[in-house]
């Protein structure tokens, strides 16, 4: 009796899991399917699940509808500049907050928390006009420089740095090691997991970011992928979903591919940011 009950529970469990997987994965398969359909297939009823013959040229059409090569280049330049700039700013700051006692430390760390919680929707407008005053609007800088301080990164890295024993640092200082050497040879190697997690979060966050680049750009020449793809939808309206989805693939597939190979690392990195 008990065994039978367990068997039924197990069966229901499997069905539930299949259903959940379908609910969360099917929309992505659906996007792939639409991106390979003809315009008629993607807009007529009844709907088409598997295109009669895959329309690979949709990707070429989408790519040529807007300067996607340029958007992709901008996205990549922006993300790499942000990750490098943030690291240069974040590592020394986290080191100071973790390993030095100084007047005003509590207040200054409070500022970092303020920056962490402040919505960009509150700050974008003055920043945009500031960039205008600095004559930088038609460059990529408004999408890079304002992100220089990664408040969450400082917060997380500080926690890692605090775990490094002080004796180790004192021994290094007695050997006349410079601060740069202490950072490079002791602190950073011991915080590799935190640094790779922070870099990944920054990468994914800025690859997907839409609000900030939309607000900072007024010309195609400096726009990243997200803004380009939303504009493709504006141009097509509710027609040619096949081309819109082909464009959407440019934005989605790189992350999906990375996720397939590193889902565990990605999930772990993202849940650092959760509340402990």
């Amino acid at each position: 009796m008990y065994k039978k009950k367990q068997k039924i529970a197990g069966f229901i469990g499997v069905i539930a899991k299949i259903l959940i997987c379908l609910i969360f994965l099917f929309p992505f398969l659906w996007m792939i399917s639409i991106s390979l359909q003809t315009a008629t297939e993607s807009s007529r009823a009844p709907i088409t699940f598997i295109p009669a013959s895959p329309q690979w040229q949709n990707f070429v059409t989408a790519w040529n509808m807007a300067p996607f090569g340029l958007y992709l280049k901008n996205s990549i330049i922006i993300i790499f500049s942000i990750v490098i700039l943030q690291s240069l700013v974040m590592v020394p700051a986290a080191y100071a907050f973790a390993k030095f006692k100084f007047k005003g430390r509590g207040f200054l760390f409070g500022l970092v928390l303020v920056a962490f919680m402040m919505p960009v929707q509150v700050t974008f407008l003055p920043v945009y006009y500031m960039m205008g005053d600095w004559r930088l609007v038609n460059t990529l800088i408004p999408q890079i420089l304002p992100h220089m301080t990664n408040a969450f990164g400082i917060f997380l890295l500080r926690q890692y740095f605090m775990q490094v024993p002080d004796e180790l640092l004192e021994a290094a200082r007695l050997d006349n090691a410079s601060e740069l050497k202490i950072l490079g040879k002791i602190m950073l190697p011991m915080s590799k997991p935190a640094i790779s997690a922070i870099a990944l979060l920054s990468f994914v966050g800025h690859w997907n970011d839409y609000f900030w680049p939309l607000m900072m750009t007024r010309a195609d020449a400096v726009r990243p992928l997200t803004v380009g793809i939303a504009a493709l939808k504006d141009a097509e309206g509710n027609n040619n979903w096949n081309v819109i989805m082909a464009g959407n693939m440019f934005l989605v597939m790189p992350l999906v591919l990375i996720y397939i190979f590193a889902s565990k690392f990605i999930i772990n990195s993202f849940t650092y940011s959760g509340i402990k």
Binding site: K17, I20, F24, L25, P27, F28, W30, M31, R44, P46, I47, V89, M90, P92, Y95, A96, F97, F100, F102, L111, V112, A115, M117, M118, P119, V122, T123, L125, P126, V127, Y129, M130, P146, A151, V204, N208, D209, Y210, F211, M215, T226, I229, A230, K233, N238, W241, I244, M245, N248, L251, V252, L255, Y259, S263, I266, I267, F270, G274, I275, K276
Partner: protein, 302 residues
Amino acid sequence: MEKGRKNKKSRHIMRILKPYLLIAPAILGIMLFTVYPAIKMVFWSFYDVNQLNPAKTKFVGMKNYVKIFHSTDFVKSLKNTGIYTLWTVVFIMLCAVVLAIWLGRKKDKFSKFTQAAMFLPHIISMISVGLIFAQMMGVNNGLLNEILVAVGLERCQWTQSSSTALMSVILVAVWKAIGYYTVIIMGSLQSIPDSIYEAAALDDASKLTTLRKITIPLISPQLFFTLIIMTIGSFKVFETIRVMTAGGPNNSTNSLVYYVYQQVFTKYDIGRAAAGGTVLFIIVGILTILYFALLSKKVHYQ
């Protein structure tokens, strides 16, 4: 001798200055791109801002606030944002808690795969997700209506009708975030020591009792923090509205941030945009203070 003392003194100064030099770039970034703009935004909300001719910018007191709180657009967008936040938070919380408790202690491959599948939408841009759902929510040729018809239900108007549009946007937000919060809550479940469950089992407590008397009370502080973070996130809803509904039909999905965006890009009214932004600032500020007040209390009790 003299030189030695000077050297010592400068080394001493250097030692005091060092931490400040190390944090200087980070603090500069915060002052320049967070603190100053936030203050400026609040400042602008009391002005009639003229960007083309700054000399014509003049102080108007509370006029921008009076104007927005008397405009049906803004009041509607505030109300929509509230409803949106309430439902997304309730739905995500319920689903994530149930899924986390169910999947939490399972270690088999299929459970891990299910977990990974649920998490995937979290790393995809809201723009992409919004576009996929906009297609699936087509009234005559969308996937979701095909499914509804197949199981014998009526076609839904989704984003085309003002009575269902906001629900459609909520659905997308819930779908995107469930997996992430499930994993977060699973993390807090794992922090409950096994010994407590063993003790409960010795007392012959039923599964439901264990859940009600042990699991939920023990994770409730973390749930509360998660709740605040979720609420803050929901108040900033923008992307789905931008690609799925453009605030329509009939303003039924206009949100606080979308309203600010419209004031900047279509109405060119910086003063009103700033007033709207300041309202968001105040809401997020209150939630943040609540968060840290509770956090310090929790640390105190432990």
